[in-house]
Each structure stands twice: as structure tokens, then as C-alpha cells.
Amino acid sequence: MSYKAKFRVWRGEGGEGRLEDFTVEVNEGEVVLDIIHRLQATQAPDLAVRWNCKAGKCGSCSMEINGRPRLGCMTRMSTFTEDETITVTPMRTFPVIKDLVTDVSFNYEKARQIPSFTPPAGVNPGEYRMEQIDVERSQEFRKCIECFMCNNVCHVIRDHEENKPGFAGPRFLMRIAELDMHPYDVADRKDAAQDEHGLGYCNITKCCTEVCPEHIKITDNALIPMKERVVDRRYDPLVWLGNKIFKRSTAKS
């Protein structure tokens, strides 16, 4: 059942690098990350790759496989033919540290720029009451494993370093939507979404949704509704005020 596959893996550090060719054994049921590990164990002990769970739960092993952003641990070798050369490169939007490992600090900086969950004063731990149906919208976004592949693929920053300061990327625009839809969050997030975090840059191409390994409908369920909320807010402050009051009173009932 095993065969020899042809791999081309990007190797290098400090801004320099090249694709290196390998021929490596593949066994039944294996995923791309298994093959990278076999390369480490047998041919290239210092080949750098991030991974943790090997079960699609931690979002560490993001890489580009034949040009597509994928989790290495969830990409089965059986999706390729045996004579295909498989090219593995690091995520393109972030600076490479070494081989397949990139500097993802952009994402952590953006995370810190988004004001945290803001509950109303006077609700103590243990007093929260929420209906399942009201938490489900935000729960979908909280499935995010922070693989950062959506931010990697979004054309606003993929080849546009200059847009990075003003654009939080789909991952963190979705975080704003998640908080805005949280039954107990009372912060006003609409203006900032547009003015500080760059929601307006998004022209709903849905590339982020396509690569999301958690199958979160980032564009349809987070970004578009958030855009609508911003628009409502901008044209009709009363609607916004009404929504917010309604939200708080149902949360407390």
C-alpha cells in the first residue's frame, strides 16, 4: 500500500529560500503532516513546521499545499495521485521565520486592538441567562481555531503590506461580529469596525470562507451582517438604540 511520493518543500530562513525536492515514503491513510514528519525523522531533521494536535483542533499547522491554504494534519495524501508532485510552502501573507513556519504576530496584535467582551454592570457570575438560540450565532464564530488561513488568503492584505495597519482581517472582523452578537455585550462596536478595523475594505469575495477549516460562514454570517449593522447604525441611530435595549432586556429576562 505504500509508495514513494515526490515532495517540493520550501526551505529557508531570513527572507531567503528555495524549493527543495524530496522523495519520501507514504503509507495508507497518511496526511501531509505525517510526510513532513517523516522527512524530519529521516532526511531533514531541522525542517521547521508548526503543529500540535494533529487532529484539526489547534490551528497550528497552516501551510500552503499546491498553492492552497490548508491544515497539514487534515490534508489526506489520498486526495493526490501517486505521481503528482506535492508542493508545500509557508503561508504567504506572513513573514517566514524558517521553512514552513511564519511570523504570525500580526494576528496577535490585531486581537489586542479589539475591545474585549463588555458585560453590563451588575450581572454577577452565575446570573447569566441566555437562550440556546441566542448564543448560537456567536458560538459559530467561537469555533475558530485561529489557524489564520482566512487572514492569509484575504486579498486585502495578501499582497498588500500597506493595508495591514488598517485592516484586522476576516478573523478579527468576525471577532467583532461575535461580540456584537453576544447577548450580554453592551459595547458599541459598529463605528470602530468600519473606521478602525477596516470592515469597509472587505468586498465580500468569500475567499476567507472557502479556506476556513472549521467551515465557518465568515462572510455570510459575520461580515455581511456586520456591514448591515454598520449601515443601519449610520442611517438610523434609533434602530441601533432600539436593538441594543431590546438585546439587554431579553438577556435579563
Partner: protein, 630 residues
């Protein structure tokens, strides 16, 4: 090369549930806190936890309370638990879960809007707060976001987000530093560039998780190389209960590359059943005497329990993990296994497809993506996998302090709370309860400290030389040493143990220790996994030696330690704890016995005499009788 230095009040090693909760507490108590972790922030092992966090909130069944939870925990651990820890855990878990909600967590809800709770093995009532089957992700993200919230607060107050709490990610600690007897800091390297870093701090909290990477078949990630266990030993602390390793009954068995990956217990909690190749629900044949009156004896009763728990006993698929793992092992050995060497776990005939996808989304996804199996249509094949170590740093229950001043431990790296076997869901709650306590313990320790300790230059230089050694020699490939250790532990100190095999394992470990001295790492210092593994070997070997030595000494079977040559549970052995320390010449591990302190009166009287009689000695039983009479 100049070594980077940072001064903190508290250094927390580990950014899983325990580490983050400890750091949040220490920062909330006004201490300057560093969080150091091997992987990226938010990726720690806790992220993988699926089923839930156990807390007796009584939202689903109002009969639940801390005393019931305490009893379940002690029973699950076969009464070997540190009872004070089990008590604190049962009492404080609800507050810790509610607090997460106030920090933004969104748990699944009951009909009346409270946090929903699910059934799990060994828990008398539905008790696990959960979010589908990704509870660990919710827990870690909430704590991560709480750290960010505190940083935003500091940014406003001090103009510097990292003034009071800072994360050092992808930074591995290789040594704890000491000033005399007390801890004075930690030494480590940045994975990204291989540079060294010293943390100067009077208090260090270990929250490094477990040791599963010493085994081939494991649900654990690369991080679980037992670093914290080894760091503690090397710094003079003691490890207890190291012979107790939980083999989770249901890991994936196929395809080979995913062997060991966890199949959550919620599958059984939500109705999944185990069958052998003959189609028999074999768990009915494996209900041990101590649990006879608590589990259904017919399939009909077991099935009724899912809808009417008041009038039926639970199905034996929900026995504690050690029982289920041994049963599966025995079925496979008897030739009644599935084609790929496991047994069948089936929900497809038990719940409608839509319900399965809703309740077990990650399991559905995992099997579909990794094994081409649609769990709504066909059974899964599962078998035991190395999952959790009950043993760890011996700590004071209330403060998390080890016997080394300034050293604290919480979470999987600490020992005692779970006795000989942990109940599912009791780890996530353990992380929160004892993470918070260790953070508070460290803060209190600092308040009582007259002056800051200092690390000696010699100790730093020695740590540096040790870390550089593999890069300086052209030696054996570290991956081969690692693979051999994994095979040794898996085969010889696995789920079923025998004196001869453990002795053989110990000999193998000695040889591997020598080989580890000679491994060489090719390549440079920048993100070099071969080098990192070379350094991890020391820790895995030390921990494996503890496991094997303690396993050889304990001549009984209990929880996560099954001796083929001593199949019974012994009341005498229940009173004894095995305690590992570094040997005098630092070349290995010595193990000594320590008496288990008797349970406090108000706690022991929470149990029936008949139940206690199954676990404790005649002498203890006489004391109990005298107590009850009073």
C-alpha cells in the same frame, strides 16, 4: 552571546487552562506576571479537550451538589486521591465555570437559559458544562481573551499593555534556577531563533501538562514531553502517583497515522454503545464488584436510563475509564476485536443523523476527514490510547506549593487530585480551581518574602552548556532514540503490566539514557525541531523512569495501574503513596513510600460503610465505626 534577561514577580510556565488561570490570578493580585509557553498562545493542549468541565452546578439535575461530586471523584480515583484537593475542587468548580461566563464564554444552554450539563463516565448526575464537543477550545479562548482584556486595562492605566502580564510564546524552559533552596527563576530558549533567555523571578508556577509523548499510541501532542515533571524533579521537588496513567478507552485505531487520536467520551454519554465482533454489548460482562449496584445489568435498563435517570441505573459503557479500557483490551486479546484491532463504538443506530451532527460535530468531522467513516451511518473502531497522567508534582492542596520554596504547580503536571484514575471532565475544572489557587499561592508567597532571590551565574552557564551540547556534537539521530523509548513504554509499561516486563523497560531506559547523552542535532539554532527534541529527551527519559520504577513497586491493581501479576486491589496499598525524587548523584530516580493521611472526619462520613469496606482496611473501618457512633 549576551543572554536576554527579564525580571518578573511570577513566571508561569505553560499557557493551557491551568497556566492561564494562574497567570490571571497573579496579575489580578497585582503581581508582574510572565506566561511562557512552547507553542503559540492559544494552542496549548487544553484546546483539544472535547467533552466538558465538571462542576456540580445542579442546572440539569438539582440533586447535584459538591458532596456528590466529591464522592464520585474519590470513587473514580479508587480512594487514593488527595481528599483535600478533591474537596476544594468539588466546592469551587461551579464558581470557576460561572466566572468564565462573565469573561465571555458561551456554553450550551438548558431550556431555562442556564449552562447545560452533560453525562459523563463516573459522574452520578449530568455535570459537564460544555460547548458541543469543543469545550477546551472555549475554555482556552476565554482565558486567552481574559489575558488580552487585562492587557487592554494596563494599556489604559500604564500606557503599556505588557506592563503587568506578558506572554513569551514559542519559548521553551529547560531548567529552573535556584538561590539556595528557593526558586529564583527559569532558563530557556526561543524556538524561533535559538537564543537563550533567563527569567528572574521568586515564584514559578509549573503548568506544563502531561507526558504522553513517551508512548506510541497517545492522544497527546508533541508538547507532552513531561517537561514540568522533569523540571520539578531536577529542582528538588517530588513527584507522586507516577505509576497511574490513564489509557482512554476510545482512541482511533485506523488509519495507522491517526492511531491514538481521541474519540470523546461524550459519544458514550450521548448514547453510543460498545460492541465486539460478535455484536455483543460486552461491557455488561465487565462490571466490577465495587460498582455492581450502580450500573444497569440489562440493555433495556441501560437504554431507559438515557431518558429516565431517576428510576434506572446507567449503562456500563459509562463506567470509569480504566474499567472500560481494560475491558476493550481483554475483548481484543480474546479475539473478539474489530478488523483493525479495536472494538466497535456505535452511535449510528442510536441517534438520528442530524442529532449526531449537532451533538458531536467534531467527531463527525474527524472521522469523515481522517478515516473516511461517516459515524451517522456506521460504527467507529476504537481502542485504548495513552491519555492523561494522574501523577505529578506533590503540592500543598490549598496553595499549589511544592516542597521547594517558590515552586508551584497546577493542572496535569501536579499530582494527587485524581488519585489513581481521573474522571472525564474533572481535568478542565481542576485547571481552573487549582490554576487560580496556584496563582494566589504564588502571590501570597511573594508578599511574605523579605528579599528577592538571585540566580547564580554558574547555574545559568551550566544550563546554557547543557542546551548547546546536542548542537556541538555529531551524534545519533534524536528521533530514533525517541521512537525506541515510545515503543518500550508502550509495550512494557502500558495498560497491563508485569514485573518482568517493567524490569526490562527499566534496563532499556538506562541504555536510552546513555544514548541520549550522545544525540546530535544537525542544522542551526533557528527553529530546529531536531535540536528541540534532543533537549526534550532528558525529560521524557526521567519521567519514564519514574513511571516504570513506581509501577514496579506497586504490587496491586488500581485505576490507571494494572498488574497482571497482582490483579487485586489492596486496602493496604491504598494507604501508601509512591514518591519519586532525583537520586543523590542526579543520575536517576529514587522512589520511596509515604503514608496517605487519613480522610477528615466530615468527609469520610459522606460515604456508606458498605462502600468504604470495599476500599479500606479493617483497622480504618474500626475507626470509622467509632466515629459514626460518636
Amino acid at each position: 552571546m549576551e543572554i536576554e534577561r527579564h525580571e518578573y514577580d511570577v513566571v508561569v510556565i505553560g499557557a493551557g487552562g491551568a497556566g492561564l488561570r494562574a497567570a490571571i490570578e497573579s496579575r489580578q493580585q497585582g503581581k508582574r506576571t510572565a506566561i511562557v509557553c512552547k507553542s503559540l498562545f492559544g494552542k496549548a493542549h487544553t484546546v483539544m479537550a472535547e467533552g466538558g468541565a465538571a462542576a456540580a452546578m445542579g442546572n440539569v439535575n438539582s440533586s447535584d451538589n459538591w458532596m456528590v461530586h466529591f464522592r464520585d471523584t474519590m470513587r473514580g480515583g479508587k480512594f487514593l486521591n488527595n481528599w483535600r484537593m478533591a474537596e476544594l475542587h468539588a466546592k469551587e468548580a461551579p464558581d470557576r465555570v460561572w466566572e468564565l461566563e462573565a469573561w465571555g464564554a458561551l456554553f450550551d444552554r438548558t431550556k431555562d437559559g442556564k449552562i447545560s450539563q452533560r453525562n459523563f463516565g463516573g459522574h452520578e448526575y449530568p455535570r459537564l458544562a460544555h460547548v458541543g464537543d469543543r469545550t477546551g477550545l472555549e475554555l482556552i479562548r476565554t482565558l486567552q481573551q481574559r489575558v488580552v482584556a487585562l492587557q487592554q486595562e494596563d494599556e489604559k492605566l500604564h500606557g503599556d499593555a505588557e506592563a503587568y502580564i506578558k506572554v513569551f510564546q514559542e519559548c521553551t524552559v529547560t531548567r529552573l534556577l535556584k538561590d539556595g533552596d528557593a526558586v529564583s527563576g527559569a532558563f530557556g530558549y526561543w524556538r524561533e531563533n535559538g537564543r537563550f533567555v533567563v527569567f528572574d523571578a521568586p515564584a514559578v508556577v509549573l503548568a506544563t501538562g502531561g507526558i504522553g509523548k513517551s508512548y506510541v499510541v497517545t492522544s497527546n501532542s508533541w508538547e507532552y514531553t513531561g517537561d514540568g515533571h522533569a523540571l520539578a524533579l531536577l529542582a528538588g521537588a517530588k513527584l507522586i502517583n507516577m505509576e497511574f496513567i490513564q489509557f482512554h478507552p476510545t482512541g482511533m485505531v485506523w488509519p495507522p497515522s491517526v492511531r491514538g487520536i481521541l474519540v470523546t467520551e461524550s459519544v458514550r454519554g450521548d448514547g453510543g454503545v460498545l460492541r465486539n465482533s460478535e455484536g455483543r454489548r460486552f461491557m455488561f460482562d465487565y462490571i466490577p464488584d465495587v460498582f455492581k449496584d450502580k450500573y444497569a445489568t440489562t440493555e433495556e435498563e441501560g437504554d431507559r436510563w438515557y431518558t429516565d435517570q431517576a428510576n434506572n441505573r446507567r449503562p456500563p459503557e459509562l463506567l470509569p475509564r480504566d474499567e472500560v479500557a481494560r475491558a476493550i483490551n481483554a475483548e481484543v486479546k480474546a479475539g473478539r476485536g474489530s478488523p483493525q484491532g479495536g472494538v466497535y463504538l456505535d452511535v449510528s443506530t442510536r441517534l438520528p443523523a442530524a442529532e449526531i451532527i449537532k451533538r458531536l460535530p467534531s467527531m463527525h468531522h474527524q472521522f469523515k476527514e481522517l478515516a473516511d467513516v461517516d459515524i451517522t451511518q456506521e460504527p467507529m473502531q476504537v481502542g485504548p490510547t495513552c491519555h492523561y497522567i494522574m501523577g505529578g508534582v506533590e503540592v500543598d492542596a490549598d496553595t499549589g506549593q511544592a516542597c521547594v520554596p517558590g515552586l508551584f504547580a497546577a493542572g496535569e503536571v501536579s499530582g494527587g487530585m485524581h488519585g489513581s484514575n481521573r474522571l472525564g471532565g474533572n481535568s478542565l475544572s481542576d485547571l481552573l480551581v487549582f490554576g487560580r489557587r496556584a496563582g494566589a499561592g504564588a502571590a501570597a508567597y511573594l508578599d511574605g518574602l523579605p528579599s528577592r532571590p538571585r540566580s547564580s551565574e554558574e547555574a545559568v552557564a551550566a544550563a546554557e552548556a547543557e542546551a548547546l551540547a546536542p548542537l556541538r556534537r555529531a551524534g545519533e539521530n534524536p528521533y530514533s532514540v525517541h521512537h525506541e523509548l515510545q515503543r518500550t513504554m508502550n509495550e512494557l509499561v502500558g495498560i497491563i503490566r508485569r514485573s518482568g516486563e517493567i524490569t526490562e523497560a527499566l534496563e532499556a531506559v538506562e541504555k536510552l539514557k546513555e544514548r541520549a547523552q550522545g544525540v546530535g542535532a544537525t542544522g542551526g539554532r533557528i527553529y530546529n525541531p531536531g535540536w528541540h527534541l534532543s533537549l526534550d529527551l532528558r525529560n521524557m527519559l526521567l519521567v519514564s523512569e519514574c513511571v516504570a520504577k513506581a509501577a514496579l513497586l506497586r504490587e496491586e491493581s488500581r485505576g490507571g495501574h494494572t498488574r497482571d501479576d497482582f490483579p487485586g486491589m489492596s486496602a493496604e496499598w491504598r494507604r501508601r503513596i509512591l514518591r519519586c525524587s532525583l537520586s543523590g548523584d542526579a543520575s536517576g530516580v529514587t522512589v520511596e513510600e509515604k503514608a496517605q493521611p487519613p480522610m477528615r472526619d466530615d468527609l469520610i462520613t459522606l460515604f456508606d460503610r458498605a462502600e468504604l469496606a470495599k476500599y479500606i482496611t479493617e483497622e480504618e473501618l474500626a475507626d470509622f465505626d467509632a466515629l459514626v457512633k460518636e
